[in-house]
Structures are given as C-alpha cells and as structure tokens.
Symmetry: C2
Subunit: 241 residues, 2 copies
C-alpha cells in the first residue's frame, strides 16, 4: 500500500535514476562505444570489431547504455543498428570529456605528449577553417572511414580514409594546404594523416577537433556520397566569392 513515498525513498529513487546515466559513462569501454556512435550508427559487430572487444561484451555494454536511455536501436533485417538516442547525448559526452580534460593535469599531459608533441604547427580552429575554405585556400580532408564520412561530413570535404591515404595521395593537389580532420580532438587519424602528408611534401595541418564538434557548432555539413572523391582533380572550380 505504500504508494506513499517517504522523503528518503524519493531521494534514493531520484539519485538512483541520475546515477543510471553515471553508470553508463563509468566504463572506458562504454565511453569508447559512445564515442564511436557519435560518428554514426553501428551494428554490434561493427562496434566489436572497432573496439576489439567481444561481441557478447559489446552487446551487454549496449544494454547498459540503453537502460540509461542514451542509446537506441533499430532493427533492419539481420542487423541491429545502435545510435545515440539524442544529440544531447553527444553533447553530454563532450561535456564530460571537457570536464575531465580541464580538471586532470595528468590527462592534459598525456594528450599533450602524444597529440601536440607530434604537431609543431598549431592546429586549425573552426573559424580559420571556415574562412580559408571559403576562399578556396585549403583542401578539407576527412580521413575517417568512409561510412562515417557518408553519415555526415564537413561541407566540401574530401574523403580519403586514413588507411587508404598513402595510396591516394596523388589525388590531393600540392599547391594548397590540406586540413585533415577525424573523429575528435583525441582521435589520432588526422595526426597520422598530417605526418604522412608532410613527409610527402604537402603542407598539412589538423583541425583542432573532429566532425561531431563541427556539427554541434552549427557549421555547414553535408551528408551522403562523396561529391568529388578521388578522381581527377577537376581543379578548384570552387573558388570565388
């Protein structure tokens, strides 16, 4: 009969509900999954392959994310596609990341030693990229896997996944600087790309963070097929303003 909640019950239930979200983001594995899902929906198999965890383990982690209502799924044929329940989930994940980064000196040092240690040139800001892309001064290069590019990319970016970059280098003109971007500020793809490009004589820099941040910032994006992927150069009929 105790439909009546004591204040203690209320308090406990309340914080327990909030803690569900906390539990969801309390495991490095689940954060990894969330981060991948920020780049677009995936099947369990995809996630297992990309994270290196077992299928079963991934499935169980996804259940936790689903009970916290952070992730939804849709079934299509044999596959179950999982995706972020809401864009606010991505925002939250980035907020958590930013908080951890701002609070933890160890984390900052670690990232600096790996990310900034490699990069002697400053990273490109969103504003700078917007401006220089508008003037046709740079090539915007998306080095994420192609499905992620198709699920959404910076407007007018070219897609060459990092593992195919070396083979497709010649598709990039050498007369303009290349700005590479990937999944986010902690993703190493664009760093690798910059290294590779520079070692081949390109002028290259890295966008300061990745596609999710660009999109969340309301910058222009496109979805779907590569507009001008890797074929002839077709020159920059794009300039002007």
């Amino acid at each position: 009969m105790t439909k009546e909640l004591t204040q203690q019950d209320y308090k406990d239930l309340l914080y327990r509900q909030f803690a569900l979200v906390g539990k969801a983001v309390s495991s490095n594995r689940r954060l990894e999954l969330l981060d991948l899902l920020c780049q677009g929906e995936r099947t369990v198999e995809d996630l297992a392959r990309e994270t290196g965890a077992s299928i079963s383990s991934v499935s169980q982690h996804l259940q936790v994310l689903k009970t916290a209502k952070l992730v939804n799924s849709r079934k299509e044929g044999l596959y179950v596609y999982h995706f972020l329940a809401d864009e606010s989930v991505g925002e939250f994940w980035r907020a958590l990341r930013a908080l951890a980064f701002s609070r933890s000196a160890e984390l900052r040092e670690m990232v600096q030693s790996i990310v900034e240690g490699r990069d002697d040139l400053e990273q490109v800001s969103h504003e700078e990229l917007m401006e220089r892309a508008r003037r046709g001064e740079v090539i915007v290069l998306d080095v994420r896997p192609e499905v992620e590019y198709q699920s959404g990319h910076i407007a007018d970016a070219v897609s060459i996944p990092i593992d195919r970059l070396e083979a497709h280098l010649k598709e990039l003109p050498k007369d303009r600087e290349v700005v590479a971007y990937c999944r986010g500020p902690y993703c190493l793809f664009s760093l690798e790309a910059v290294d590779l490009l520079r070692s081949h004589g390109y002028k290259a820099r890295r966008l300061i963070d990745g596609y999710p941040e660009w999109e969340a910032g309301g910058r222009p994006v496109q979805r779907g097929e590569n507009s001008k992927p890797h074929r002839s150069e077709q020159s920059s009929d794009h300039h002007r303003s």
Copy 2:
C-alpha cells in the same frame, strides 16, 4: 621511462581517464554529496549527517570524487572542508541531471507525481521572479539551512530555514506573494514551504529551481549574513542525534 605507447594503450588510458569522471557520478550516494556541495562547502561530518550515511562511507566516497578531481578539500583546524573543485563541476552535474530528466520518462513521471502533483499553481520562472521582485511585488524566501543561505543567496532574499518556518511565519507580510526557493528543482524544501504558507493563508509559489541554477544563470546574488529577517539566533544545530 618514456614507455612507448601503442595506440591501444593510448586509447585505453584515455578512455580510462574519462571514465574516472563517469565513475565519480555513477553512485547515487556520490551524486547526493555533489548536490549538497553545490550549496557550499561541508565537512565529512556534515555530509554524513545530511545524507544519513556513515562517516567512513562518506569519506571514501569523497576520495573517489577527489581522484576524479571534482572535489577539493581544505583543512581548517580539526575539520576538513570539502568543496566543488570548480564551478564547471556544478554545471556538469546539472547537465547530467538534465540529460537524465530529458531521456527518462520514468524519472519525469516520478518527479511530476511528487513535485508537480502537489503544486497546482505553476512554478515561478527566473524572469518572472526578477521582474516582480524588482517591483517589490513578492517576498523571496530562502528555506535552505542558514549556512547555505550565508554561502550565497538570491539578492534580497529572506532566510527562514524550512524547519523553522512555522515558528517564524509572522515575520512574513501577508499582503505580498511569497516565492520560496531551495536547493534545486528536485529539492522538496520549497514545496513544503509553499504548502505550509498556503495553509496559513499566504499566497505562495515556488521558484522553478534553486539557488545554484539562479547563480549559474548570472542572476544577482548576495553572500553573507541575513539582511533583515529574524536576527541570527545562533543556529546551533551542531549537535547530532
């Protein structure tokens, strides 16, 4: 020394660091502590008393919050005062709360059944309170414990802690509406206050959320002693049960 990090190592370390923050907010007890610390610094004993947990347990939870760098402490004499390491921690906690609230229908129903079920009049928004307080149409009533009031309160608010409200009712004029506020949207103090006030013939409503949100919104605040309510009566509630 500089052990070479494989990409796998890097990824694991990185997400593990982020997960530290997640772990910190994955326990209802710790969220309760965080929520209290949003109202001002406290000793371990304070927190244990207010949450009903044991001293030792609270101390251990605080260590978790400290390793995640969300909480700092300062020693003063015999006591250790714990406080949020940064205002961004409070922001993050509110963001988590908001995310859970927006994503969980159960949570919304639970809160609605308790909070809004009691309150037939709509809650007061920040804007409305600003405007009507400016015109002197309302009394702003802080029903949190006095130390929280002193650590920061809405400008020109009167402090009457909820457990002393009934005894001090006569200090409130009946010709103006009373707007009560407390710790936040899920705190029940202001609801109790509204019930009590109405049952004594006052016109009363509740601010939609509490002091932390008001302050975070950049609204005018004050700190320190009560300006003009009943004079400080020593509030020596310092005995425990």
